[in-house]
C-alpha cells in the first residue's frame, strides 16, 4: 500500500546570528514589545540593568500591534539601523 505523506517540509533555511559585541559599554538598546500584559515593563526592567551597569541607553521602544504575527519588516530594519541590540519577548 502506498500512502501520501500529509506533512510539508518548509524551504531549507540557514540564518546567521549577528556578530557578537566586543563590549556592552555605552551601547544603544531597542525594546520591541508584543502587546502582552507587562511586556513593556518586563523589557524595560531588563534594559534598565544594562543602563545602570554598562551605561547603555534605550534608544527606542518599538511595538508589534499583533503579538502572534511576525514583527513588520520595516520595524526590524529600523531597529537594525538604529540600535546595537534589541530586547524582545515571545509568548505570554
Amino acid at each position: 500500500m502506498q500512502l501520501y505523506d500529509p506533512t510539508t517540509s518548509g524551504p531549507q533555511r540557514e540564518l546567521l546570528r549577528a556578530p557578537p559585541l566586543t563590549s556592552l559599554d555605552g551601547k544603544t538598546i531597542g525594546i520591541l514589545e508584543n502587546g502582552k500584559l507587562n511586556a513593556t515593563e518586563m523589557l524595560r526592567e531588563l534594559a534598565r540593568l544594562f543602563e545602570d551597569r554598562h551605561g547603555c541607553k534605550v534608544h527606542a521602544a518599538y511595538s508589534k500591534s499583533n503579538a502572534s504575527a511576525p514583527a513588520p519588516a520595516q520595524i526590524l530594519k529600523k531597529a537594525a539601523d538604529e540600535v546595537d541590540f534589541l530586547i524582545t519577548g515571545l509568548g505570554d
Binding site: 540564518l15 556592552l24 540593568l49 509568548g91
Partner: protein
Amino acid sequence: MLCTEPFEVTARNIARVLGLPSYPFLRVQHPIGSCTLPELEARAQVAYEQAVPILLRA
C-alpha cells in the same frame, strides 16, 4: 529574545523552522502578565545574567 519557561519548546521549534536551531533564548519564570514590579525586577536580573554572555559570545 526572552521567553518564559513554558514557551521554551515553542521558541526552539520556531528557531528550528526558521533555520537557526541553536538560537539562544533568555528563560525566566512564568508568568509575566500578573507580576508585581518586584517580581519583574527579579526576572530581569535572571534574564540579564543570561543575556550578557549571549551578547558577548563569551
